[in-house]
């Protein structure tokens, strides 16, 4: 009597059956998720391909779909997202360095800051829009409906992402590096600046690129701060009025006139293409520098 037969015959057909059903259900779940993604991409691409041309980059919005394009939106997005990165990256990286390297975990105020960042990450982005409307566009700062306002609002939206990603990157640097540097009489800041940060750069870069992707796709907070106006010019300074790509796509999607649907889909293709490029860059950086380690 071999051990094999005893083991295989002890599993009842009912248990074997539920095993198979479970597996099938799991495949179904996977199929739903991946299948929906595929359907989305195919349907958007097929809707938009008739309008994919360089006209999208040269035409401004218009009430006639054949003549409308995304020029103001694309340049507006470049301005807004560029300014957002300029503000959010130094601030986010600085905050992360403080929390990870300098803050004593047992102090209540440091724990408050950490809890706070977790909460900020969970706030719906519309609420940041309300904050922007009250304090940045109007209220004390009164920047109006301009590029600067949009950038400040988006900074708030992506700041938790930058902080969390940078902290992960700093944490991944082995403590032995820090200890060796300190043992050789370097100060804390010298250690961070010369040893820890250079090693953490790939992780920080990845986090930054992801935050840029996020900022590029955000639309809800900017709805409240003037991005939906009918703009037929590209921004010339940070106090220009503006629009961004996702909002213009929203605008065209909401238009009932036929012809705008294909245009909106084409805009989506452009947006997804840019995001794909950014994310590929992030993955490339991650891959490149992880190999060198």
């Amino acid at each position: 009597m071999s051990l094999d037969t005893t083991l295989t015959t002890s599993v009842s057909p009912r248990r074997k059956f539920s095993n198979i059903v479970f597996r099938v259900l799991l495949y179904a779940c996977l199929g739903i998720a991946l299948g929906t993604l595929a359907t989305l991409l195919v349907s958007v691409f097929s809707d938009g391909e008739s309008r994919l041309s360089w006209d999208l980059f040269t035409n401004f919005p218009s009430s006639r779909p054949e003549r409308a394009g995304f020029r103001s939106a694309i340049f507006g997005s470049l301005w807004v997202v560029g300014l957002t990165s300029l503000i959010s990256m130094p601030m986010g990286i600085a905050a992360a360095i403080y929390l990870e390297e300098f803050a004593r975990r047992d102090r209540w105020y440091n724990r408050l800051v950490e809890l706070n960042i977790q909460n900020l990450a969970a706030v719906p982005s519309v609420v940041y829009g309300i904050l922007g409307l009250a304090f940045i566009a109007r209220g004390p700062l009164s920047f109006g409906f301009t590029v600067m306002t949009a950038a400040l609002i988006l900074t708030l939206v992506v700041l938790p992402t930058v902080i969390i990603a940078t902290r992960e990157a700093l944490r991944a640097v082995p403590p032995s590096i820090r200890q060796g540097s300190l043992a050789l009489a370097a100060t804390r800041w010298q250690t961070i600046w010369r040893q820890v940060l250079p090693q953490a750069v790939p992780g920080i870069a990845t986090g930054s690129i992801l935050s840029v992707s996020r900022a590029l796709g955000e639309s809800a907070p900017l709805l409240l701060t003037g991005a939906l106006t009918f703009i037929t010019f590209t921004p010339t300074s940070t106090s220009s009025q503006y629009t961004v790509l996702p909002i213009t796509i929203f605008n065209y999607t909401s238009q009932a006139k036929s012809g705008f649907l294909e245009l909106a889909a084409a805009g989506i293709v452009v947006l997804l293409a840019i995001l794909l490029l950014l994310n590929s860059a992030a993955i490339f950086i991650r891959y490149r520098f992880e190999r060198n380690r």
Partner: protein, 320 residues
């Protein structure tokens, strides 16, 4: 370079004070300065939260000066931008719960199932394809999902298969279904982290006692990872409640107390988006209504977030 001050004069024998001098002193000042600057950046995040609360609170209090609390919470007509305005918040809260419920009904099974597959069944090669695909799903902007809901899901799925009444251009069902898919990556990746944290020794013990793979999943891994999974679900609910664009595009802007998801409904977040489209003059009732609803939304998500953190802290399985 002189690092320490040697004080000969005031006491017999060598006395060394460790106060830095010269370039070491400069360095110490830089160190303190750097720490202060970095700390300021960290404090900036606390300032942001305070700013959110303050910005919401002021106009909200003014709002409740004009509108009674009982009308806000008990009336069931929401028409704040009409004449005469009516401020019963229940329709949009109901709409929010309806769309969120549909989204969760999709996202939880699909997300947990995907997590099970990735953590217990998938070969490394499959993982390397599926995980980045989930990340792609997570990175798609919400406008795109809204477009998809309006132009594909509603005509091809909801209008065709919904048995309870006529379905127009907008439906809560289309928005809810697509929102569910949007939050699948949140549920899947957090649940998968929780499942992978379950030590293999537990699984091996179950194998050794003759369990099938499915029994290991449902009877060992799932209960052990439950706190992480519940936290993931709570986070997903919070995300769904705050989602604006998908609802605004695919579910329209008509508040209703109907329970039929084949109709379009307005949610709290989509109302804020909708009201923000029209330019509301500062301190008009419309302007203040945005803040009142915004406060309600913020409170909902804040409470959910705290609950999620609590659950993880209190019920996390400690292995060994």
């Amino acid at each position: 370079m002189a690092m320490v001050a040697v004080d000969h004069a005031s006491a017999p024998g060598p006395v060394v004070s460790l106060r830095p001098t010269g370039s070491a002193r400069r360095r110490a000042i830089i160190e303190r300065g750097v720490k202060a600057v970095l700390g300021l950046a960290a404090i900036g995040t606390v300032v942001t939260t305070i700013a959110i609360i303050v910005s919401l609170l002021g106009p909200t209090i003014e709002f409740f000066g004009d509108v009674s609390l009982s009308e806000f919470f008990t009336s069931d007509v929401w028409a704040p931008l009409f004449q005469p305005p009516q401020f019963g918040v229940r329709p949009i809260v109901q709409g929010t719960l309806m769309v969120t419920a549909i989204a969760i009904l999709i996202a939880v099974p699909v997300g947990i199932g995907t997590a099970f597959y990735l953590s217990e069944y998938a070969r490394p090669r499959v993982r390397r394809i599926v995980k980045p695909t989930l990340e792609v799903l997570a990175g798609i902007p919400t406008v795109v999902f809204g477009f998809f809901a309006l132009n594909w899901v509603n005509p091809e799925l909801v209008q065709r298969f919904w048995p309870f009444g006529e379905v127009g251009t907008f439906s809560a069902l289309a928005a809810g279904l697509v929102m569910g898919i949007m939050i699948v990556p949140i549920v899947a990746s957090l649940s998968e982290d929780a499942m992978r944290a379950v030590p293999d020794s537990l699984r091996n013990g179950a194998w050794a006692l003759g369990s099938t793979k499915r029994e290991v999943c449902t009877r060992v891994v799932f209960p052990a990872a439950l706190s992480g999974i519940v936290a993931a679900i709570v986070l997903a609910v919070s995300r769904a409640i705050g989602e604006t664009m998908i609802v605004l595009i695919a579910s329209g802007s008509r508040p209703t107390t109907s329970l039929n998801p084949g109709e379009g409904m307005q949610t709290m977040a989509s109302f804020i988006g909708f009201a923000g489209l029209g330019d509301q003059p500062t301190n008009s009732t419309g302007y203040r209504t945005i803040f009142a609803v915004g406060t309600l939304l913020f409170v909902f998500t804040f409470v959910l977030n705290m609950v999620s953190i609590r659950i993880v802290r209190r019920y996390r399985e400690v292995y060994e």
